[in-house]
């Protein structure tokens, strides 16, 4: 793998990390939005944290898979990553409309 001149697995892992950073920003904005409201809404922080942890877990999983010589992500990971984004849309809509 280290002989690959294009460093493709490394570039892909960095792309996963950038995506996790983007999810971090979205999670923080969601948590800030919850904290601007009343105390009863505090439990809404939990799904925002779960989404972030899911994304971070995926990055670690990819890192381990690349180290084990399986650089292509499982076809379950990508729909799951998109569902994390959809989840934040749902949280945002719930916070705006309620």
């Amino acid at each position: 793998m280290n002989q690959d001149p294009g460093l493709q697995p490394e570039r892909t892992l960095l792309a996963w990390r950038r995506t996790a950073l983007a999810v971090t920003v979205v999670a923080l904005l969601t948590i800030r939005m919850v904290l601007q409201r009343n105390l009863a809404d505090i439990p809404l922080i939990a799904p925002a944290v779960v989404g972030w942890l899911t994304m971070v877990a995926m990055v670690y999983r990819q890192r381990a898979a690349i180290a084990a010589g399986r650089p292509v992500a499982s076809s379950r990971m990508l729909p799951l990553a998109a569902l994390v984004a959809v989840g934040y849309t749902g949280l945002g809509l719930a916070l705006i409309l309620s």
Binding site: T19, V26, L29, L78, Y88, T89, L93, I96
Partner: protein
């Protein structure tokens, strides 16, 4: 048309057709998906920021409308990214041409229109103040 929906319930099916391409092609497809996902996340972040940081606007509910539009557009980009990734992966496995898509052009037009509307709103505001 709904073939990609099946992917959500049986994702391994995708890797059963055709033959496995060079892993670098699959990784390039994966990075393209991730770049689209970040585009969607940026739109969602924009929607969350609009809801929190915009001052109340002259039209009632305009701020909420902008925020909700951006949130929904972000989700649409993320879901389209899965669909396109699956179509490309399938085409590569079957040795077919890569699928063409109108989506990038549609998204670019939507975002350009949004930007033009904002420019018009800012000019109108400056003009009405002077």
């Amino acid at each position: 048309m709904f073939r990609w929906l099946r992917l959500w319930f049986n994702p391994d099916e995708l890797r059963q057709v055709g033959s496995t391409p060079d892993y670098r092609f699959s990784l390039a497809n994966e990075r393209t998906f991730l770049a689209w996902l970040r585009t969607g996340l940026a739109l969602i972040a924009g929607g969350l920021a609009a809801a929190q940081f915009l001052p109340p606007l002259p039209l009632p509910h305009l701020r909420e409308g902008i925020a909700i539009t951006l949130l929904l557009l972000g989700s649409a980009v993320a879901l389209r990214a899965v669909e396109h990734w699956a179509r490309v992966e399938r085409a590569m496995r079957l040795g077919e041409d890569l699928p063409a898509s109108r989506f990038p052009a549609v998204l670019a037009i939507l975002i350009s229109l949004g930007g033009l509307l904002l420019i018009a709103a800012i000019l109108l505001q400056a003009w009405s103040r002077s």
